[in-house]
């Protein structure tokens, strides 16, 4: 690899401006979507070769979408609240007629006959999809090193990982390839790469955003969420993808919340009276000192803006990692059964005497090591005679976690922790021992198990000059509160 380089953009001073600015300008006819797109493609052309954020760049389709937006504006029709904003889509979101791979050989070449609900909502709101971003295969991983198509590099330092599993989406935003992006978060897959790439990332309440068209990893934990440079942009994106979807039975049947206004309120008025709890179990042991130092800074900013701060113990967070690595693989083992070579994707029939052997050959050739590891782990956890000890026990822990957090939220409005124990690590650092890799998600997993929202917001850099994010957690449907508080932390940057 050549000497480390940086490809990061700073939107507050850069050309494209924030997503909110882009949409406002395009809707007002001050800028064209085609021009905005050209700026982003220029950055892709210059740096994508180094970063490898994308599995597929949608050059032609994006151009057509941008032109449609501009034509609407010219005709006096409002293209929508996301008019002309270039958005990157994690490659586990189905896009009609466009290859959707989950960064796996087993789905290579598969073109879904339908688009995910979120993809449809983005298009309806006037956003322009620039490409499908790289990920750890089937969203299993924390560094994007598990992609079958090669890793994505951190735009802040090309020798470092961008985090994962939504590493491609985080890097695409950080590098200025897209103004905003969608990722999916099962155990931290939005928040951890957002933290490592120095941008905002949010996992909404389970059920706030439709999962229809998100290729499932662990269905009871998966949730789609936004990446953005600013808290307001994250709120804008979330506002436009949230809301009930009859195609997802677990979707919450309530109108989408008003979020951008909450961000503006937080920025203007601070957070007077907000009760902030520092989670003891996640703010000491196992966290690097520079990360903890930035956590203190974030807490100070909240206090200065009117918050009262205390410490809270959420003991069951210690059990989260074990529970997660039983529940998620168990669901994954079932969700990934369908990749059997019969209907779509890869089929390896050579040397197979019967259909079972064809299925086995296909899966052996098509899945990477980490996916196989989790399928085996999950299959074991669900097996007769082991179910109660593993999957059953993990579900009990999950109930415990939910109750623990409920108790904590009687005392505090939001909780605060680091997002990741460390800044971005180097390629290969954690691939030899899966457990060290799993530990990087220790702060983010609890909110997936609880089904609650959480946001990672940048708060300076570490001793190595790499970005550090802090995480705010809240009870179900507290997105507006979290975004308001995140805006306070962001304001201090």
């Amino acid at each position: 690899m050549s000497a480390p380089t940086r490809t990061v953009v700073t939107v507050s001073t850069g050309d494209p401006g924030t997503a909110a600015n882009i949409a406002a300008d395009v809707r007002a006819g001050r800028r064209t979507a085609v021009d905005v797109l050209a700026q982003h493609f220029a950055r892709i052309d210059a740096h994508e070769g180094d970063v490898h954020a994308f599995n597929l760049v949608l050059r032609q389709q994006a151009g057509e979408q941008a032109a449609t937006v501009d034509a609407a504006v010219a005709a006096g029709i409002d293209p929508g609240p996301l008019a002309g904003i270039p958005v990157a889509l994690k490659d586990n979101l189905c896009t009609r007629g466009i290859e959707t791979t989950c960064s796996s050989r087993i789905l290579e070449g598969w073109k879904p006959p339908y688009s995910a609900t979120v993809v449809q909502r983005l298009a309806a709101a006037g956003a322009v999809a620039v490409g499908k971003t790289n990920l750890d295969e089937f969203a299993m991983g924390s560094s994007t090193e598990n992609s079958a198509f090669g890793p994505t590099r951190n735009p802040h330092d090309h020798t470092k990982v961008p985090g994962g599993s939504s590493g491609g989406s985080a890097a695409a935003v950080a590098a200025g390839f897209a103004s905003i992006a969608l990722g999916s978060d099962t155990g931290g897959s939005i928040r951890q790469p957002a933290s490592l790439c120095g941008i905002v990332g949010m996992k909404p309440t389970y059920g706030l955003v439709s999962r229809y068209g998100l290729v499932a990893y662990a269905s009871s934990l998966d949730q789609i969420g936004p990446f953005a440079h600013t808290v307001e942009d994250a709120a804008l994106l979330l506002e436009n993808i949230a809301g009930h979807d009859p195609a997802d039975s677990t979707s919450i049947d309530a109108p989408p919340p008003s979020l951008v206004a909450a961000v503006r309120r937080g920025r203007a008025d601070g957070v007077p009276g907000l009760r902030v709890g520092i989670v003891e179990e996640l703010s000491g042991e196992g966290m690097s000192s520079d990360v903890l130092a930035r956590l203190d800074v974030a807490v100070d900013r909240l206090r200065t803006a009117g918050a009262t701060v205390g410490h809270v113990s959420v003991e069951s967070t210690k059990l989260c990692l074990s529970a997660y690595y039983l529940i998620a693989p168990a669901e994954a083992s079932s969700n990934l059964s369908r990749y059997d070579g019969v209907r779509y994707g890869l089929r390896v029939s050579q040397g197979a005497a019967n259909v079972e052997e064809m299925m086995a050959n296909t899966r052996a050739a098509g899945f990477g090591a980490e996916v196989k590891r989790r399928i085996m782990l999950g299959t074991y956890a669900l097996s007769a005679g082991y179910y109660d000890a593993y999957y059953g026990q993990a579900q009990k822990v999950r109930t415990l976690i939910i109750e623990d957090f409920r108790r904590a939220y009687q005392q505090f409005d939001v909780l605060i922790t680091p997002t990741s124990p460390t800044t971005a690590f180097s390629f290969g650092d954690k691939t030899a021992d899966p457990f060290t890799m799993y530990l990087t998600d220790v702060c983010t997993i609890p909110s997936n198990l609880a089904g609650d929202p959480a946001i990672s917001v940048p708060c300076g850099v570490g001793d190595d000059g790499m970005p550090i994010g802090v995480q705010l957690l809240g009870p179900a449907l507290s997105e507006a509160v979290l975004l308001g508080a995140a805006a306070v932390i962001e304001k201090g940057n």
């Binding site: 586990n92 979101l93 189905c94 959707t100 989950c102 789905l107 598969w110 879904p112 006959p113 339908y114 995910a116 999962r211 229809y212 068209g213 998100l214 290729v215 499932a216 662990a218 269905s219 009871s220 009859p246 195609a247 997802d248 039975s249 677990t250 168990a330 669901e331 083992s333 079932s334 059964s337 369908r338 059997d340 019969v342 209907r343 779509y344 019967n354 259909v355 079972e356 299925m359 299959t379 669900l382 097996s383 007769a384 179910y387 999957y391």
Partner: protein
Amino acid sequence: MALKNGWELVVGLEVHCELATNTKIFCSCANQFGDEPNTNICPVCLGLPGSLPVLNHMAVEFAMRIGSALHCRVEPSIFHRKNYFYPDMPKDYQVSQNDEPINVDGYLELPDGFRVGIERAHMEEDTGKTQHMGSSGRIHGANYSLVDYNRAGVPLVEIVSRPDIRTAEQAKAYVAELRSILVATGASNGKMEEGSLRVDANVSVRQPGHEYGTRCEIKNLNSLRSLTRAIEYEANRQIDLREAGERIVQETRHWNEEDGRTSSMRSKEEAMDYRYFPEPDLVPIAPSAEWVAAVRDALPLMPADRRRLLSEATGGELAPGSDPIVTIVDQGLDALVLGAVAHGGDGRRAVNRVANEVVTAEQGARLNIAGFAALLVMEAQAKLTSTQAKAVLVEMMETQASDPAAIATARGFQAMDSGVAETLVDELIAAHPAEFERLRAGDTKVAGFFVGAAMKASGGKADGKLVTGLLRQRAGL
């Protein structure tokens, strides 16, 4: 049929019933038998990556109807995933219900009053259909296979009986009765030949009073005939093994219709571990008490209730399980009988006429109820002989005429005066002395000869019963 050497049969049945919903259980594709392969499919029922199921409300209602009709408790329930690899199962797991099914603990009453316990009646999705192209017709040895996913995601209710059935005939009666109940609820079309109803039988044998024997599950029972044949074959196979001192291996066995045998498919050791776990893509079903009550209250009368009503209409002279009553309920001709009784017709006569002469629903539809009742009254008042009444009834159905008296008059039907009948009988005895001697000697078959002759002589006006009575009187029988 009793088993040899005092062995007792023990059978429990698992019946898969396709629900007659317009659409599939988790998507809006048409639930339609017989369409071109792979035309009623979408991302959801093909299990495409990213697709999610949404439960069909009507399928839940149908399942509740079935549960209520089988006297089950309708309970809050959840779906599980049943994991195994098979090419006709798009997701390589089946969404089914495991330990929290929607209906539990009911019974089915056979026409003879015997009650078979129902353990559960749970919901699940159907699989696609695989056609193995090659000599064996089975998945192993096939050259290639064709899969039709039209059936994938068709809603099913699986009705699991307790092992209460003791004869093959009872098993047949159970399935026939269950079929009628399912059709009555409107939840199923009951067509076994289209696979709407599919039966698996758990068969074991024991000496009465002993513990249940090891059971085998028999699959591929596509008709009532296969069901009884397979159960009898399997029972005898197990008895032969037991009497030879061998053990029964718990296994799944395939019924082969052609050679009339069952053969081993897989043993318990090879049985799959389905790794059931709660389906995270669906939410629990928690029907409100009001909904459960509304479904129960809206159910039509079930066949057992209808048989009871018909029996009551005969003043209890015919049992609810008697053949004519069973036939009438099967054909849905209850209204004709009960309507005729309401119009003054005799219940028993109405049941017999409908079961023997009307027979089918199509025929019944051509009959005016008041007219039918009037015919029964005429016969009861001896204005028509039995033979004449039948002839009038046939004409009423042929022409959809409603006035039996008009038909009788047009045909010149009048019951013969008893004095005229006596004269006729005496004339016939005088004309056929040899035959009369045989009758006196006790050869009662000769009576038929005299009745025939009386009919011929009277142009059909003679009452057969009256003639027979007079003959027997004259012959001193």
